[in-house]
């Protein structure tokens, strides 16, 4: 039995590859919240999600869902979670109806009413094949399947990547309504503007290491952004948490507490700006 009953609890997760290492990833998901899992491409987000689900075997660490150990209760856990990955299109030539019929049989808690409700809400036609669906519709179908078996936790791997702004907005509204219904969502993405709109918490992964696990608002207000024309002053250079070159000069990310000492005007930074600057700093070290 795991130590706590969080929808997802991860302790010291490690996975070593020749060119990449996931190092000591530890976090708990807050029930009923949307947690954004951010990091640049190759930071280890998908490796982490695949390790959580047992698709890949971690070298170390413990993973538990709802207080159940993933090593011993994987099947019971999978009854309560839904996994949606934008990169995966299953059985492109089969009708959605066939895929649903097969999926339904694995879940005793399957609710056909819920399935019909979401299929109709998402405008999905069971007679179509995944190959005939847009990327946004594929994600919606995967969500409909996950929600119909009563998943309490949704693990979403880059669900909005490759979607147009309207489809992304639509999906974000769906995620928010799921959160309102008490579902917990872990949402991996590198499109941080999506998280600005819906996330309650942030997990920030850099080079395989979790460097932030906090409320989005706290994460955002920790930093301010200075826009500097021309050369970067030496006193700012010493305080900066990351610098980016822009057309007329530089932008520098500064810890909010250090803004006064920097002596230059600063503004609130977006999640995207924070991630980019922190990653620049990490790469420079």
């Amino acid at each position: 039995m795991a130590a706590n009953n969080a929808p997802l609890s991860v302790r010291g997760l490690t996975k070593k590859y020749p060119a990449f290492e996931l190092r000591d990833v530890t976090f708990d998901l807050v029930p009923g919240a949307i947690t954004g899992f951010i990091g640049r491409n190759g930071a280890g987000k998908t490796t982490t999600l695949n390790s959580l689900l047992g698709f890949i075997r971690p070298d170390g660490g413990e993973v538990s869902f709802f207080g159940l150990d993933m090593k011993t209760s994987a099947e019971a856990i999978k009854q309560r979670i839904g996994f949606v990955s934008a990169g995966m299109t299953y059985y492109t030539g089969k009708k959605l109806k066939t895929i649903t019929d097969v999926t339904r049989a694995f879940y005793p808690g399957w609710d056909d009413g819920t399935y019909r409700k979401y299929m109709s809400q998402f405008g999905l036609d069971e007679g179509k094949t995944p190959a005939a669906l847009s990327n946004g519709m594929k994600i919606k179908y995967a969500l409909a399947l996950a929600l119909s078996h009563g998943a309490d936790l949704m693990l979403l791997d880059e669900p909005t990547s490759g979607l147009d702004p309207v489809s992304r907005e639509e999906l974000i509204e769906i995620f928010l309504s799921l959160r309102d219904a008490g579902k917990t969502i872990l949402f991996s993405t590198h499109i941080t503007s999506d998280l600005d709109k819906c996330a309650d918490r942030i997990l920030f992964l850099q080079k395989g290491q979790l460097t932030a696990d906090m409320e989005l608002e706290n994460f955002r207000t920790q930093y301010l952004l200075a826009e500097i024309q021309g050369e970067l002053p030496e006193n700012v250079k010493a305080l900066t948490k990351g610098v980016c070159r822009v057309r007329d000069g530089y932008t520098a990310l500064i810890q909010a507490d250090d803004a006064k000492a920097a002596g230059i005007p600063c503004r609130a930074a977006t999640l995207d700006e924070i991630m980019v600057h922190l990653d620049k700093e990490e790469a420079a070290q």
């Binding site: 695949n50 689900l53 047992g54 698709f55 890949i56 075997r57 994987a74 099947e75 019971a76 856990i77 999978k78 009854q79 996994f83 990955s85 995966m88 299109t89 299953y90 059985y91 492109t92 030539g93 089969k94 066939t98 895929i99 019929d101 097969v102 999926t103 049989a105 694995f106 879940y107």
Partner: protein, 216 residues
């Protein structure tokens, strides 16, 4: 049972049931009839190859099933197809007996002992293909090449034995119903081999597949 249903409804490649019809090759005069069973293994190859393209493993691994159950489902479907091929071959043997018996110069005559050859061929294929494939399900070619090499060596030995091994030449390679007890004994032994080899294959495959990282 759910996994078997999933295998048939989502993973079955159309060539596999089509290859069942190739048991009609038994009607060809002077042909190595055991080759007709090889086509079903080719169907299995296509099933595994298509599964890679349709992300079958990722879909199945996300379902509430274990890796061992995934292996059991796939090998279960393949066994069903192999048994269907044996039954279809039995039907063709009966059809051929109605048309008229002609001795086969290219291996075993069209008699019930041929079904035993089918069981051995499928057992051998299962034993080599699956444990190798489940090391890395994204690489289907090498396991199929290895298993096919073994299958063709077996077919060659089976043909040679109809000339060189007295028991095969004098008892098995004869017109039915001559030497029926020996032929039934051979089928029984071959069925035993098929069952044992497939069981071993599933055990080894399950162990290997449980340890690998799925490259999704």
């Amino acid at each position: 049972m759910n996994l078997l249903k999933k295998e048939f409804r989502l993973c079955l490649h159309p060539t596999a049931p089509l290859f069942l019809m190739l048991c009609t090759m038994i009607l060809i005069p002077n042909y190595p009839y055991a080759v007709s069973f090889f086509y079903m293994t080719l169907g299995v190859f296509f099933i595994c190859l298509t599964g890679r393209e349709t992300h079958d493993a990722a879909f199945t691994a996300a379902l509430p099933v274990s890796r061992k159950q995934m292996v059991h489902g796939r090998i279960g479907m393949v066994c069903c197809l192999e048994l269907a091929d044996i039954i279809a071959a039995a039907v063709m043997l009966w059809v051929k007996s109605l048309i008229g018996f002609t001795p086969n110069q290219a291996g075993m005559d069209a008699n019930i002992a041929l079904l035993g050859e089918g069981f051995i061929l499928f057992g051998l294929f299962n034993l080599i293909f699956f444990p190798n494939w489940y090391k890395n399900i994204n690489k289907v070619g090498v396991p199929f090449l290895l298993s096919s090499a073994a299958v063709f060596v077996y077919i060659l030995l089976a043909i040679v034995s109809t000339y060189a091994v007295p028991f095969v030449r004098d008892c098995l390679d004869t017109q039915d119903p001559a030497h029926l007890p020996e032929k039934l004994l051979f089928i029984g032994a071959a069925l035993l081999f098929f069952t044992g080899a497939t069981w071993l294959s599933e055990r080894a495959s399950g162990k290997r597949f449980a340890m690998v990282d799925l490259q999704l």
